[in-house]
Amino acid sequence: MKKQPAKKAATTITFVLNGKRVALRAHPMRRLLDVLREDCHLTGTKEGCGEGECGACTVLVDGQAVNACLVPVTHVEGARVSTIEALNGRHPLQRAFVEHGGTQCGICTPGMVMAAVALGPRPTRTQARIGLAGNLCRCTGYEGIYRAIKAAGKPVAKRSLEPGRQPGADRGGQRGRNKT
C-alpha cells in the first residue's frame, strides 16, 4: 500500500520472527513485506512485482511459502515467520546457489531459496519445478537453480532454520506447520 495509514489505526502484532518473539505496532493492513523491510530492518526479502507473480518476496509463515506482498501483517499474529535472514548465510542451499550458478544478480535469490526451503529435503527435479513455479529469475535460466537444489540435497548435516538452536531436522517442510 502506498498510502500511509492513520497512526491511530495501528495495532500490536505479536509473532515469532526468525525464532525470536517480536511485538510491533503497525496498521493491520500493512503488507508483511513492508513491515519486515522497514520496521524489522530485514531487507533480504525483496519486492519484485507487488502482485504475487514473481516470488521475490517469498517468506515462510508456519512453514508455508507465501508472497509477503500479499499478506496483511495482522495475518501473522501468533505465527512463525521465517525470512532469508534466518538461514544466516550458512544453509546448504545458500552455499549451493553460489557454487552451482543458482544466483547472478541476486534479486530473486532470497525468495528462490525460501521457496526451496519449503520444498523440504531432496526434492525431485519435477517437485522443484512445481515448487518454484512462483519464483521468476531473469538471469540464470533456472538450470543453475535446479542444479543448486540438487546439490544441496546431497547428504549433509541438517540445519535448523532458526539461529541459536542446535542443528536438527529442517522445519521448512512443504506443508509443515511449526508447532513450537
Binding site: 507487488g50 499478506v71 512443504q174
Partner: protein
C-alpha cells in the same frame, strides 16, 4: 465493508494504488469456515479452505479430483497456500479456475447473514461480470458438492503452466447427461446446456462444437482474442469427450 480471506487478489489492486477502503472484515481467523467433510454423499468445503488444503485432501481427491486439478493450476505454491475457494467464488472473476468445476458439478454456495442461511446454486449465483446475488450483509461460508456421477475433466489453457490467468478454462463430467462448464468465454462462468444435450443425444463432435459457439461469448482482451478462445473452447470440448470415453 470488504471481507478478507487469503488476500491474494485484494493486494494486487491495493499495491497498484486502487482506492483504499477504510473498513475491512478479516475472516482469516474463523476456523469454523475451514474444513472439508463428506456426509450423505455431499462434499462440504469450508469457504476458507485454501488450494493447498484442497490438494492435500483425500476426500476431494476421491470425490472431486477435478477441483484438485484446478487447485494445482492456480497461481503457484505461494498463492495456493493463501488463496481460498470462498474467495474465488466471491471475487467472481469470469476466469476463476474453481468456478467451472463447481458449475459442472452443480455445486451449491452457502451464504450466511443475520437472517440465517441461504443456499444458491453456483449456476444461479453469478448475474453478470463480477456481480452475484450475494447481498452486502452476507458471507460465503461453504460450498457443497453433491456426488458426481461420472469421469471428471479439467483443463486450463494459459500462457504457461503456473501464474497464469486462463485464456480458456473448462471442467466437465462425462455421464449419460454430460455436464460441461467454461470460464473466460463470457462475463461469468457458464454451463452449455444445448451442447450438453447434443452430446447426450449422440450428436457428432463437429455438430456439438457448432452448438457450443452459440453458447459462449468470448471477447478480445489483453490475454487473448475472441476468435482464439472460440477455437480453443471447441478443441477442449473435443478433448473432454475423447479423454473421458
Amino acid at each position: 465493508m470488504v471481507p478478507l480471506a487469503g488476500c491474494t487478489d485484494i493486494y494486487v489492486g491495493l499495491n497498484a494504488g486502487a482506492p483504499v477502503h477504510t473498513r475491512y472484515l478479516d475472516l482469516w481467523r474463523l476456523d469454523e469456515l475451514r474444513g472439508i467433510h463428506r456426509a450423505h454423499d455431499v462434499l462440504r468445503i469450508g469457504a476458507l479452505t485454501t488450494y493447498t488444503d484442497i490438494i492435500a485432501s483425500r476426500l476431494v481427491g476421491r470425490h472431486l479430483p477435478m477441483l484438485v486439478a484446478a487447485a494445482h493450476e492456480i497461481g503457484a505454491v505461494q498463492v495456493q497456500n493463501r488463496g481460498t475457494i470462498g474467495g474465488n467464488i466471491a471475487n467472481g472473476s469470469p476466469a476463476g479456475d474453481t468456478l467451472p468445476v463447481l458449475a459442472a458439478a452443480d455445486a451449491i454456495v452457502e451464504l450466511q447473514s443475520r437472517d440465517g442461511v441461504r443456499k444458491v446454486r453456483v449456476t444461479d449465483f453469478f448475474t453478470g461480470y463480477r456481480t452475484s446475488v450475494m447481498r452486502g450483509d452476507e458471507l460465503i461460508t461453504a460450498v457443497e458438492i453433491p456426488a458426481v456421477d461420472g469421469m471428471q475433466f479439467f483443463r486450463k489453457v494459459g500462457t504457461r503452466a503456473a501464474q497464469s490467468i486462463s485464456k480458456v478454462v473448462v471442467a466437465g463430467v462425462r455421464a449419460a447427461q454430460p455436464r460441461v462448464s467454461f470460464g473466460s468465454v463470457a462475463p461469468t462462468v457458464v454451463r452449455v446446456p444445448l451442447t450438453e444435450r447434443a452430446l447426450a443425444n449422440g450428436a457428432s463432435m463437429s455438430e456439438a462444437q457448432r452448438i457450443l459457439q452459440t453458447e459462449i461469448a468470448p471477447i478480445d482482451d489483453i490475454r487473448s482474442t475472441a476468435a482464439y478462445r472460440r477455437r480453443v473452447a471447441a478443441g477442449l470440448l473435443a478433448q473432454f469427450w475423447s479423454s473421458t470415453s
